[in-house]
Each structure stands twice: as C-alpha cells, then as structure tokens.
C-alpha cells in the first residue's frame, strides 16, 4: 500500500512537471485506466479485477478498473473508441461489446474497426440449456418443439445485442430451423443472471450462454444442458458437443474477453501491453482464478486474436443480415 501510494505521488509529481516542460517519459509513467463496459460484479468485471490482482508483478504502474456501464456495453466501449490513444485508457473488450453489438446494431456509436486489439486472454464455452420440466432433453427435441409450435418456444437473453440474443437463433439456424427469428420468441431481461433464472422458473424455454452462468443450476439439476460449443466435452456438463451433433461450425460461438485500446493506440503502449498480456496469461495464479469461474485462459498472439474476433464478427454479421435482425 505504501509503495503504491508513493508511486502515485511520484507519478503525480512527475506529471505536473511533465505537463509544464512537455518532456516525454517512457510508457507507462502514470496509472492506466482499464475500462470495463459492464457492471461491477459481472463476469467481465471479475475477469478484469482478477487481472489487476496479478498485474503488480508485471506492470510497474497501478491499473485502475473503471466500470462504465449502460446500453449493453456500448457506453463504455464508445468512450474508449473516442479516448486519447496514449495508452492510458484501455478496455476489456468482450464478445457482446465487440462482435455481437457491432454485428447487430446500426445505431451504435462505434464499429469493430475503431479499436486496436492487444489480444484475447480468456474464452468461455457456451452451453445451451433448458428446464427439466419443459420435457425437452436434447437439441433434437428442442428443434422438433420449435418446428411443431412456431413462435411459442421462448429463449431468454440479457438484452438486445447481447451474445445470448444472437446465440439462440444462431444455434437454431445451424440446426436447420428456417427463419429462426420468427420461429422462436426472444425474451430480453436485464442481465444474464435474471435470464438464467427465468429458464429455471419455466418462464422461458431455453437459454444459450456462458457455462459459468449456468454451472450452478446444472449441478443442482435445475437446468438440463443440451449442448456445449467447445471442441471437447465440458467437465461437469453432461451434454454433447456441437461437433458430436454434426454442427462443428457452432464452435465459433464462444464468449471471450480481450484487451483493446483506441484505433490509433501508440506503438509503445501497444507493444508494452502485448508483452504484459503474454506474461499474465501464463501466470498460474491468474489461470487458477479464471478457471474457478469456468473460463479458459488462452495465449493468443495479436494477429490470432484479430483473426478470431474478425471471424466471429463475420459469422454473426452474416446471420444478422440473413435473418434481418439488424437494429436501426
């Protein structure tokens, strides 16, 4: 604590001097703000705070996690897109804010190209699940029910433009349900926890979301998993993978978090972050903490990350255009 404070004081003094003299010092010379576009206590926020718990080992300045919430992640994301590109405002990019939202919303104040991506650091598998009382116990039964009763089957999500919103129809589309948006009813709720609860209570038929959000309900038997989108089966989830069901293309449907900065992020900051992120994703403590939450820490090069994000975006965009889901 004292070192942190001393560091801050030093940084503040240095800053005052720097402001006067216009001198340049090496990055980073003051605390870095890490914007989380979702609320405190959510999966993204916990991922970010898990990260800051280990960053003192690698990053010489404090990282300030700042929640800037609202509009399904758009508020915080737009803020970073327009922030100074000096490397002192970075963000935790997320599947919702960076691939689903841009693919679905025309009224968004940013696009996927407004950012410089440092890298993806964690991936979380998606599970589709339903209540055991629904009488649906497999993807096959779900598809049959959707086709038999068009519009009656509902799926819950954490709002328009959330991954859950897109995931529901993406899965049905892959399983050959034509015009999926008309065949099922989308039930938006405020937040992922609420969306899961409504499936448990039987107010919505099914949900496709991060395994971490459903694991407790699956273990207690309140939810029946139908499918996971990982390559291998998931421990503790008794459900086939998408590939086993003959739909390997659904493996694109995974949640992820990464670090990004504004589009013109200076090279100095970019390279520093690539190095730090490489160290953080190898940190045993970080891996263990993230693992406890059900996510898988990955080490992707910046190039791989950009390719991964872009591919996911294009798949989502194609589906949105096909089904006319774009929000004007």
């Amino acid at each position: 604590m004292t070192t942190r404070r001393a560091m801050l004081a030093a940084a503040a003094t240095a800053l005052l001097i720097a402001a006067g003299a216009g001198a340049e010092a090496a990055y980073p010379e003051r605390p870095i703000t890490l914007i989380v576009p979702y609320g405190a206590g959510g999966a993204t926020d916990i991922a970010a705070r898990n990260m800051t718990a280990v960053t003192p080992k690698y990053i010489p300045v404090p990282i300030l996690v700042v929640n800037k919430t609202g509009a399904g992640g758009a508020t915080g994301t737009a803020f970073v897109a327009n922030a100074a590109a000096d490397g002192y405002t970075m963000m935790v990019a997320r599947v919702g804010s960076h691939t689903v939202n841009p693919a679905m919303k025309a009224n968004l104040p940013y696009s996927i190209d407004d950012f410089r991506y440092v890298g993806v650091f964690e991936i979380n598998p998606v599970v589709c699940a339903t209540s055991p009382n629904s009488g649906i116990d497999s993807m096959e039964a779900l598809i049959a029910a959707v086709k038999a009763r068009p519009g009656e089957i509902t799926y819950s999500s954490s709002g328009v433009g959330s991954m859950l919103h897109l995931a529901g129809v993406l899965v049905l589309d892959a399983f050959g349900v034509e015009n999926a948006t008309q065949m099922v009813t989308h039930l938006p709720f405020r937040g992922g926890g609420e969306a899961a609860r409504q499936v448990v209570a039987g107010n919505a038929t099914f949900i496709c979301t991060n395994s971490s959000a459903l694991m407790g309900h699956i273990q207690s038997g309140a939810l029946k998993p139908l499918m996971v989108t990982t390559k291998e089966r998931l421990e503790g989830v008794d459900a086939p993978t998408a590939a086993e069901l003959g739909k390997p293309e659904l493996e694109v449907l995974v949640g992820w978090s990464g670090i990004a900065g504004p589009k013109d992020l200076v090279d100095e900051a970019y390279e520093a972050w690539v190095g730090w992120l490489g160290q953080i994703t190898k940190d045993a403590e970080f891996k263990e903490r993230m693992g406890a939450l059900g996510s898988i820490v990955v080490s992707m090069t910046p190039e791989e990350s950009v390719q991964f994000i872009r591919h996911q975006y294009e798949v989502f965009r194609a589906l949105v255009d096909k089904l006319g889901m774009r929000v004007e």
Binding site: L8, A12, L15, L16, A19, T33, L64, V66, V327
Partner: protein, 162 residues
C-alpha cells in the same frame, strides 16, 4: 399571484407539454421498428401512455384550480423578488462555471474554487472556516475516491492533475 392561479397555470402548462410530447417529441425521439410483432409491444406505446396521463392530470389540476372548492387554501404566494430571481440565475451560472472549470482545472482544484465561490456568494460570516473547507475537503474526497476506491477523477486541460 395566488396559489390557485399558480396551479391553474401549472395544470395548463403540464397539459400543453403533454400535447407537445404526443405530437412532436415522441414521433421524433422514439424509433419504432418497421416490423413490430404486436401493437402492445411497440416502443412508443409506453411513452404515449405516459403523455396521455400527463395530459389528463394536467387538465384535472387546471380544472380543480379553476372550479374546485377549498377557498381556505387560497393564500397569497410571496411576491416577485427581482434580487432573488437574479441570484437564482447567478447560481445557475455558477453551476455551469463549475462544470466548465472541472474540464479546465480538474475535479479537485475546480471544487476548491467552487466551494469558495459558493460560500462567498452565500454571504458566509465564517470566512476562515470556508477557506479551510475549500482547501481541505476536495483533497479529502480525492484521497477517498482516487486512493482508496481507485476511481480516477477528471483532470483538466490546463492542469493535468489528478
């Protein structure tokens, strides 16, 4: 102006505002997608219902004030005080100045100046105490928000601190 007359004007004002909402603001401000499943699901249903409520209650208030009984509450409201009105406008000006200063001097320094300004504007007789408050309080808050809670406070264009 009597309270009765005040309420009459208030009711008419609210009703007029509701009409403005219904005819101009809602059509302009609420985007309705082309394919709405059912009329009850339209994004503009709720704002329209609220505007309708305001129209109704505004009218009721105006009618109550015009025709209602209750002469016992028809007291004379305090008359117009030009000095107070001027001071009110000046306060609003100070608010905006405060906001503008945060952008220039940062949150902490701007707040110091603001406390000083508002205290003097409020004709304080405790000048020393005011001075001390202006010097200490913003820094205490800075310590709490920034140091303990880790919330970065805005810095200014002229002074890049905190």
């Amino acid at each position: 102006m009597t309270t009765r007359r005040r309420d009459l004007l208030l009711g008419i004002g609210v009703a007029a505002f509701a009409v403005l909402l219904l005819l101009v603001v809602i059509p302009l401000g609420v985007h309705v997608p082309k394919a709405v499943r059912a009329a009850v699901l339209s994004p503009d249903l709720w704002p329209r219902v609220i505007a309708g409520m305001l129209l109704l209650f505004g009218t009721v208030l105006a009618l109550q004030a015009r025709f209602g009984a209750g002469d016992e509450d028809d007291w004379q409201a305090p008359g117009f005080d030009p000095l107070a009105a001027l001071r009110f406008l000046a306060t609003l000006g100070l608010f905006l100045l405060y906001y503008w200063l945060v952008r220039r001097l940062g949150m902490v320094l701007a707040s110091s100046l603001a406390i000083l300004a508002f205290g003097l504007f409020g004709r304080t007789r405790h000048t020393l105490l005011l001075l001390a408050t202006a010097l200490v309080l913003p820094f205490l808050l800075w310590g709490f928000f920034y140091e303990i809670a880790g919330i970065p406070l805005p810095s200014g264009d002229w002074v890049s601190w905190p």
